[in-house]
């Protein structure tokens, strides 16, 4: 299979498989998780402005006092990598075109040079995250095979995307094919690994904020 055939495969059958597994897995896992339900809380609720699940949805992105100083690398690299990823994924013209094709929504793109820069920022931040995971005793202690795997399948699409855009190492067609293939791998694994936090983080934050919010504590 040469590069052009591979490209046709990843844009056609490969994408179909990936999207199918991703959607199937996501729906299944979401139902599996949230159908467990929870008991209603019978304690009388305190009403304090700013203390609710919805507030925590947003507020939890900001560290509480002292934490930034204690874990500077985790926060800085974490922000850089998540924001960089968001820019690269959501504000690159070809990606927007794809999103428009899939769900019909569209928005303006950023210049490709800026997206390239953000890809570098993301890659560097991800390397920092990896080194930190290897060096920091707590992270190393917590890490399982899944942590390394999910790091790799997140890193690869950014790396191949950047290398394709910059024509590094391999011919563009092959690199582009590998880029799309790596995204498909990411999609396939997402519902079944910790990557699923892209969905569960929001209800988790909401539950957390709701539980503390009932007590009148804005967290």
């Amino acid at each position: 299979m040469d590069a052009a055939e591979l490209l046709n495969w990843v844009r056609g059958p490969g994408l179909q498989i990936a999207i199918a597994v991703f959607l199937l897995g996501t729906i299944w896992r979401l139902i599996e998780i949230y159908s467990l339900g929870r008991k209603p809380d019978l304690a009388e609720r305190r009403h304090v402005p700013g203390a609710s699940g919805w507030h925590t949805l947003v507020r939890r992105s900001i560290p509480i006092p002292g934490m930034f100083q204690r874990s500077t690398i985790t926060y800085v690299a974490g922000y850089a990598f998540h924001l960089g990823l968001a820019v690269v994924v959501l504000l690159f013209a070809p990606h927007i075109k794809l999103i428009q094709d899939l769900i019909g929504l569209t928005w303006p793109a950023l210049p490709s040079q800026f997206v390239d820069l953000m890809a570098v920022v993301t890659l560097v931040a991800m390397l920092v995250v990896l080194i930190d995971r290897i060096r920091q005793p707590v992270k190393r202690f917590l890490s399982t095979f899944e942590d390394w795997l999910t790091w790799a399948v997140t890193f690869l699409p950014v790396l191949t995307g950047y290398m394709a855009a910059r024509h590094l190492l391999l011919p563009y067609t092959l690199m582009l094919s590998l880029h799309i293939l790596s995204v498909e791998l990411l999609l396939v694994l997402l519902p079944f690994t910790k990557l699923f936090h892209v969905f569960t983080v929001w209800p988790s934050r909401w539950f957390n904020g709701d539980i503390q919010g009932k007590k009148g504590v804005a967290v």
Binding site: I19, L24, I27, W28, K97, S112, Q113
Partner: protein, 364 residues
């Protein structure tokens, strides 16, 4: 066509009114196009001038004659044309006067006479399904003709995307079982000059290189001359700055289209198409598709017919996803519901098994 079969190329050209100066200029241009070093122009000319008219056999299989059209449809006699006139084109179904068994006899004679030395040019793909019955000449299948003709060839040149990669006949579902030449001929050098059609100068460049040096130029992984197929259309496209700035034509008649913005979103396949269109251009360097306002179709790449609509951006899926997506959501919901019911039952069972804890339970 069957003129004298002897004489040097330069003499032939002179007879047809091409001056030595014009010839040198042509050789210099060709050398630079082929990325030979600057000094190579003269050496190229010298070598080319001294070359003898080689015998060339041109076989046409599952093709549309577009490649031949590309070579011959010039407003004025071009040097490409003259070079072609200067080779001994011993067999070409479209161009030759002879027909029927006489033509076949001529081919056989030329092969015999130049055994091991002639160049075999092929346009069109070879049908392999059902014993190759889908394309035959004089009752002989294309496959048999190809294999027989390739046996005595010095090299095989696959002209156009059909011969190079299978092209349109190989497009899904490939009813004739079409295959490219390179899949059949394994014991001779095969050079692919892809494109639908290929650029004329690319063909003559390769022939000239062979005539001058007796070797084939450096090839890429797909067997194409690297000097012409080394870069993508996108990388050499004059509209590239608009891509980098994120300026895209959204329709063929919007403001962006009028301003000459990038055609990526209109399906241009320039980014993944390796060819010289953006630099050599067509019709004596007049223009090329993107300059005329249409995106690149990617015709010099394998399976370009199967790469989805010509008007769908490269980053889009080639096949519709709605059915697959809906199906997956349905199955996912069913699996989820199944797990949810089973979980509910498990939880109810655990609850039913609950014995109220007493202090004794705390002791191990």
């Amino acid at each position: 066509m069957n003129e004298k079969k002897s004489g040097l190329l330069i003499d032939n050209l002179a007879r047809q009114g091409v001056s030595r100066r014009t010839f040198l200029k042509y050789c210099a241009t060709l050398a630079s196009l082929m990325a030979l070093p600057p000094t190579a122009g003269r050496a190229f000319a010298e070598a080319l001038a001294k070359s003898h008219r080689p015998s060339v056999i041109w076989l046409s299989f599952q093709e549309c004659t577009g490649c031949t059209e590309s070579l011959t449809r010039s407003h004025a006699p071009t040097l490409e044309g003259l070079i072609f006139n200067s080779i001994s084109l011993d067999y070409h179904e479209t161009l030759q006067a002879a027909a029927g068994s006489a033509a076949e006899a001529a081919r056989e004679a030329a092969m015999k006479e130049n055994w091991g030395k002639y160049l075999l040019l092929v346009d069109g793909s070879v049908p392999m399904k059902d014993g190759g019955v889908y394309s035959a000449v004089g009752g002989v299948s294309n496959y048999d003709t190809l294999m027989a003709s390739a046996k005595g060839a010095a090299a095989v040149v696959a002209i156009g995307s059909c011969a190079s990669f299978g092209g349109l006949p190989k497009a899904q579902p490939n009813p004739t079982g079409a295959v490219p030449v390179s899949e059949l001929v394994k014991d001779k050098p095969v050079i692919n000059i892809s494109g639908c059609p290929p650029i004329p100068v690319v063909m003559t460049g390769v022939l000239a290189h062979y005539l001058a040096f007796g070797t084939l130029p450096e090839l890429d992984k797909l067997g194409r001359p690297l000097s012409f197929y080394g870069e993508t259309i996108h990388d050499r496209c004059y509209r590239r700055p608009f891509y980098d700035q994120g300026k895209f034509a959204k329709t063929f008649d919007d403001e962006g289209a009028r301003k000459g913005w990038c055609l990526f979103e209109l399906g241009c396949k320039g980014p993944v198409t390796y060819n010289a269109c953006a630099t050599v251009k067509w019709n004596d360097g007049t223009s090329f598709p993107i300059e005329s306002g249409h995106g690149c179709l990617g015709c010099s790449e394998p399976d370009f017919w199967d790469a989805g609509s010509f008007y769908r951006a490269l980053s889009l899926p080639t096949t519709p996803l709605e059915k697959v997506a809906l199906g997956a959501i349905g199955v996912g919901a069913a699996v989820g519901a199944g797990v949810a019911l089973s979980n509910r039952a498990a939880k109810a069972k655990a609850k039913a098994a609950h014995q109220t804890a007493t202090l004794d339970d705390l002791e191990k």
